[in-house]
Symmetry: C2
Subunit: 138 residues, 2 copies
């Protein structure tokens, strides 16, 4: 482990515009994606905006999964922040690509909280820390 978290940013292009503007479909797909990927859902917020577009976030025990859609462009911006090794980000990608019928996608992965910057050896826990690096619901 070299960082506390991984942040995966996904651009979905050429999606079905009706899917991207359907609040129930987007919310259901995002929650399903979180479960399929092996994460534990803590809470969620989804809203539809006028004249079109949806924003939503699923807070998971392993961090978060967020989406913003622009149906008029057939475009959705998704980001998945995970900590620990439990969650499979590519399962999220594949599930949402199917749900939105995306013709194309692009992904970036960024380490968050790099241990070399935090002054920690990747093989050791910090002194005084007894906690796991993935959060548990309190």
């Amino acid at each position: 482990m070299r960082s506390l978290g991984r942040h995966i940013l996904v651009e979905f292009y050429d999606c079905d515009p009706l899917a991207l503007d359907d609040l129930d479909l987007v919310e259901h797909s995002m929650k399903e994606a979180a479960i399929v990927a092996g994460s534990t859902i803590v809470d969620s917020v989804f809203r539809r905006f006028a004249p079109h577009g949806i924003s939503g976030v699923v807070v998971i025990a392993e961090s978060h999964l967020a989406i913003h859609t622009w149906p008029e462009y057939g475009y959705a911006a998704v980001d998945l922040f995970t900590c620990g090794e439990k969650v499979d980000p590519w399962a999220v990608h594949d599930h949402l690509q199917d749900a939105f019928r995306a013709g194309d996608s692009e992904c970036k992965e960024l380490p968050r909280g790099e241990l070399r910057v935090l002054g920690e050896d990747a093989c050791h826990k910090p002194a005084g820390s007894s906690g796991p690096l993935s959060h548990q619901v309190g």
Copy 2:
């Protein structure tokens, strides 16, 4: 405008560990930061985890503001997704740096939904789109 959104990822280092583990302080600071930056809060979710650490998201009309804290490392990962020109991401940064007494920070800004990739001229709205590029609460 060259992209539909801007995604700003901020690493806060050498923070006050007690601040990063205080649910009320983190939630209050994040909401204040959203307001100071000129955004409109739509909804929010904040949770404290065992043995320590907080995750939270403020959904704003202009997208979202999320945080995950690791008090044991004095570290917080913040990300701000904005669309439109209204929100000042650096006001968010400065407000949270003060709130968490961060000794250091690092920022990355990534364009989301680049218009050249979406096949749109940056100076023109897409045909058939009458809507603003920043969302309005529906």
